[in-house]
Point group: C2
Chain length 443, copies 2
């Protein structure tokens, strides 16, 4: 890390809306995306919703010269839809699949089948180790009555954990993707506060793009009014986030988004707008960031800790709501299953009476008998599967709730031991209160 020159890295992120046969003009749009990427030659390209591996392989072929290194993150039944193309060699990759991701029976929403995840690629940019993350969280289909909110909050929780722990050895952290959360949504606050990631839209020196950095806009022909709901002009749900470390300082020189149309083409690249951020990476020696190897700008303050406690507590409440719902659903599944079983026994009992009293007439027409039995079996099978599914959902929600409880306890203890609270006295339990614990990368 002797290199003190700065490196400029152009990062691109786009949700490609690539559901074969279902997304409008899918092949044409992929052709446009490939063309644009070969022309623009971004350093790092992060794509989401590349649902078909064939489309990924087509892009790989097309970008072989401009982006020789790439990786497709595999996960779930269909795949994670996440891909990275880059000019830098990919040294290693790692993928974390979220424990919760919607419901399999909500097939029309389809999120469950996607195996949503966060993918990580380790690159070496001008002598700096850069951990680049790409992710796509569960969609929000109805903001007023968002039944997926606990799932998205748990995903945001797992995302921050994954980034926080895996990036401790990295000089630079870059995250791009469709978070499906507005800038001030709970999950977004949780992610940014806990990891210290900065939003390139808010940090950029220059910006050229949609109003308020929106990435889902009314001007996009693939977007219907209904999708935007009360946000008539659009919403900002796609992000490029970044973070400096003790080894490097990252700044955002400029940022841009597409604006709902592409010159010389009848439609845009996707239903989402594409983001491009120009980041400047400057390596620095530990001396510049203090002898303890930690950047002063990132030192935890009591205020930040207190804010974090509030956010995690809020997230915990949301997860508890999800727990309550999942428990109720599991109870309903169990009750319906029990009713199906009772119906089956009743039917068998009625059928058995004339069979025992030999010669008496069978009260059931055969067809009805078999159809009713089939119905009972179908109920039993469905409710059993649902029971198992809800049990897994409960386990994941309880797990996240447990982790949040622990984290809040630890944060509160740190807060109690914080020097600002007791200006000149040493804190009561110095080693546990101040040493790096829950915050390895930041403290």
């Amino acid at each position: 890390m002797a290199n003190t020159d700065s490196v400029s890295v152009r990062v691109f992120s786009l949700n490609c809306w690539g559901i074969r046969y279902l997304s409008k003009h899918c092949p044409q749009r992929y052709a446009m995306i490939g063309e644009m990427l070969t022309k623009e030659e971004h350093d790092i390209v992060l794509l989401q919703e590349v649902w078909s591996e064939k489309d990924y392989l087509c892009l790989k072929k097309k970008l072989a010269c401009t982006h020789p290194h790439c990786h497709y993150f595999k996960s779930g039944v269909i795949g994670s839809g996440l891909a990275i193309f880059t000019k830098y060699r990919i040294h290693d990759t790692f993928v974390y699949r979220y424990s919760l991701n919607g419901y399999p029976y909500m097939a029309h929403h389809g999120d469950w089948f996607g195996g949503k995840a966060v993918g990580m690629a380790v690159l070496n940019i001008g002598g700096l180790t850069a951990n680049v993350y790409v992710t796509h969280l569960h969609a929000e289909y109805c903001r007023e009555k968002d039944s997926y909110l606990p799932h998205r909050v748990v995903q945001a929780w797992e995302l921050q954990q994954f980034i926080r722990y895996t990036s401790a050895g990295a000089d630079v952290v870059i995250l791009g993707g469709d978070l499906n959360m507005h800038p001030q949504d709970l999950g977004n606050r949780l992610l940014r506060s806990y990891t210290g990631l900065q939003d390139s839209y808010l940090e950029t020196a220059k910006f050229d793009g949609c109003e308020d950095g929106m990435t889902l806009i009314a001007g996009n022909p693939f977007i219907t009014e209904k999708e935007l709901g009360p946000f008539e002009k659009g919403i900002r749900i796609d992000y490029i986030l970044f973070k400096s470390s003790s080894g490097a300082v990252v700044r955002c020189d400029s940022m841009s988004t597409t604006k709902g149309s592409v010159p010389d083409h009848p439609f845009p690249y996707s239903d989402h707008e594409a983001l491009t951020a120009e980041l400047r990476l400057e390596s620095c020696s530990p001396a510049e960031t203090g002898a303890d190897g930690r950047s002063k700008a990132q030192d935890s303050t009591a205020g930040r800790l207190a804010e974090l406690v509030d956010i995690v507590t809020e997230a915990r409440t949301e997860v508890k709501v999800g727990l309550h719902c999942a428990e109720r659903m599991r109870y309903t599944a169990a009750r319906t299953g029990a009713m199906g079983l009772a119906l089956l026994f009743l039917e068998l009992a009625i059928a058995a009476v004339p069979w025992l009293a030999l010669g008496a007439e069978q009260p059931f027409p055969r067809t009805s008998f078999y159809l009713l039995a089939a119905l009972c079996f179908a109920i039993l099978l469905t409710t059993s599967l649902l029971y198992v599914f809800y049990s897994m959902e409960l386990k994941s929600l309880q797990g996240a709730e447990d982790q949040m409880r622990l984290a809040v306890g630890s944060l509160q203890e740190k807060l109690r031991g914080f020097p600002l609270a007791q200006p000149h006295n040493p804190p009561r339990r110095p080693p546990e209160g101040q040493e790096p614990g829950a915050f390895p990368p930041e403290e």
Copy 2:
């Protein structure tokens, strides 16, 4: 980290074999385990196969005074079976669920339902940040024809990735658990070589326990001869591993195992033997480990890199065998499903002929008709589920194979640029060849 005194930490690990109503003398054994733990007062207790949360809660109650901090790692349908009890405050936890873990239809082996995972707890021991991991990999039911080998290798791969990336910010790493692998098995070599974890049995100054550190022994009354196969005396599959870092040196002062029986009790704690390791943690300043903050003892050597390339290549071959099997199974599922569908159409066609030629006699007795239709539906449903399952298995195996390919490429490039190969010339591509990339915690 100004503290230069050493801290002694007693770590305990046991696979509790806690399947309620199925494992022999389960409640009595839990009572014995609880009693022993309160008496012995280990600093960190890592338990596996605590399948019932009720048993965990019982232990939690019993150990409230000796081990006030604990966590149960939730995952899957039943749970991960992993628990940690400790004297130190748990600052944070994180869990990674393995992407592959056997087959749901192998219900008698039951691994799939367990949601096997690796759990991590962040502790603060005498001012040092210790990442403590507990895990349990897929069992080996038949060593000669081990159809789960690719799954276990992928689990070992994910385990090393998880530990390597999440421990970069830790001073001390401790892993305890039932790896279900012999000391020289592929997965074990992969884990130890990649992470740099040391085996406390091999490193200990004093040892008291079973011959060769075995943890599944013929002398244990719960173990049958059949289970041990050709290894008449027993095998070593449970481990306590540890790792030093730039901030601390870890040594193993002594190690012991139980020996198949417990004084004053008619049977032992479990079918596995329990392990206890006494680790000595010594914090050290970066100056002692070199200006770059990395321990000299852990510097990568060309020999180590070459060994790693060989091991990852071997693992890749094993994963490819698994891929081949999964592809064949998926093909078989698809073919059987198609046959079920054809049979259903045939039946409907035969039934439809007399229905179209009005008045002709129905060739099918009704009961047979319905039974055959039900059979066809059952075949279709089962094969569809299997097809989806094998698709997910293929995705996970392909994902691991992709990651291994990338890793081998990156390791080989490092090896080419290694100074030992070109003693006094600068390597051709210095920034990419030598900077920390694939090995954040060790290089």
